[in-house]
Symmetry: C2
Subunit: 197 residues, 2 copies
DNA sequence: GACAAATGCGAGCTTTAACTTGTATTTCTG
DNA sequence: CAGAAATACAAGTTAAAGCTCGCATTTGTC
């Protein structure tokens, strides 16, 4: 009833990370809706009971993953942002960021799988919405660094749109043969340059 | 074993349409994964057994919906395509088509819910892939009508990209307050004009 | 070293949703 | 009209998946 907070030991925190790793792998393969908690437990090398020691239900696993991603991505984009020299040509900037997105997608397919969720339950939608807003804001920051005159409102809108473009093309990129894939990436860069320029 | 084909009577065809209507409504509310066949049957005013008289399993309902949509959309776009005068300014063309997409989306949310499926099982992905390709081809046709010099390959790529852009912005449009929604639509048109021009 | 709390197990409970089955009724065809 | 095929019903079966429970083991603290 009174919802005590549990004092986690080092072992417990490690287990939680292992369970999240397992969930990430399963989501990458099957997507969140088809992920089963027993699968995750088995993959993490623990029993179902142990899983529920750390996560009260399936949705809390999702929350944990999203939280971890958010932190990781914040660090990643901060580093990227700092490395951007203000005078870099737009072509080069877009080229780099798109390439990195493609690379990241192939490394962390679960992240994208979450980013697409729209019609899969409220909690799920809310989680991916948070991720989306976070990334869009970081893109807006970057744009304003490059063009200090850009109004904040406009930068946000452009960030949102740019992210939407990348999101839209990404699944086609990863599910196509290499040549078509390269075509799509090139076209996406071209599109973004025209839009942002 | 030998998979007989059933001779449908008029009543049966009508029932099938009613069941698909019900499925469409449920998908619009909950999405395909959370749709239950019992729900669909209840909404259609038939028993579960009757539903399974016409659809062997849940996926076949999806197939039926997609088939119906494909036919409907083919007719719709054919009519649109014929109405396009070759000399129309790009702004007007894009403006019209985006507006119509927005209107259609608010009328048939299930269609879009299907169009987004990526990580929800093979059959589902294949179905939305078919829808996607079909629409992209029709956009490519339209572009080549306007610009006869455009190579077919290039037109297809542009059609695919343009559809992806619309797809990407649409969920934000319908889940935002009217003012923001209008902003997003305007920005989408601007983006498409810059890209296609 | 002792006690409490955290961790761990895995069999099994419970619910839910896809689907079946047996039977009754309506419609088409000769 | 008669038989066959299609349509209709709803109670019931089944399997899967989320989650619980009782108990054993490990870890941290005094």
């Amino acid at each position: 009833m009174t919802e005590r907070t549990v004092r986690r030991q080092a072992r417990g925190l490690k287990r939680m990370a292992e369970i999240l790793d397992a969930a990430e792998a399963v989501i990458a393969e099957l997507g969140y809706p088809d992920m089963t908690t027993n699968q995750v437990a088995a993959r993490a090398g623990v029993s179902p009971g142990t899983l529920y020691q750390f996560f009260r239900n399936k949705e809390e696993i999702l929350d944990g993953l999203v939280a971890r991603y958010t932190v990781d991505r914040a660090e990643y984009w901060s580093a990227r942002l700092a490395a951007v020299t203000p005078g870099i040509p737009l072509e080069a900037l877009v080229g780099q960021l798109v390439d990195e997105s493609v690379r990241f997608k192939s490394e962390s397919p679960a992240y994208w799988s979450l980013l697409y969720g729209t019609a899969t339950g409220d909690r799920f939608a809310a989680a991916s919405q948070r991720l989306h807003d976070d990334v869009a804001l970081r893109i807006a920051d970057m744009l304003r660094r490059r063009s200090p005159g850009l109004p904040e409102e406009r930068a946000r809108l452009m960030g949102t749109m740019a992210l939407a473009m990348v999101k839209a093309v990404m699944p086609m990129v990863t599910s196509s043969p290499p040549q078509r894939s390269a075509e799509l990436v090139a076209e996406l860069k071209h599109l973004l340059v025209r839009y942002l320029g």
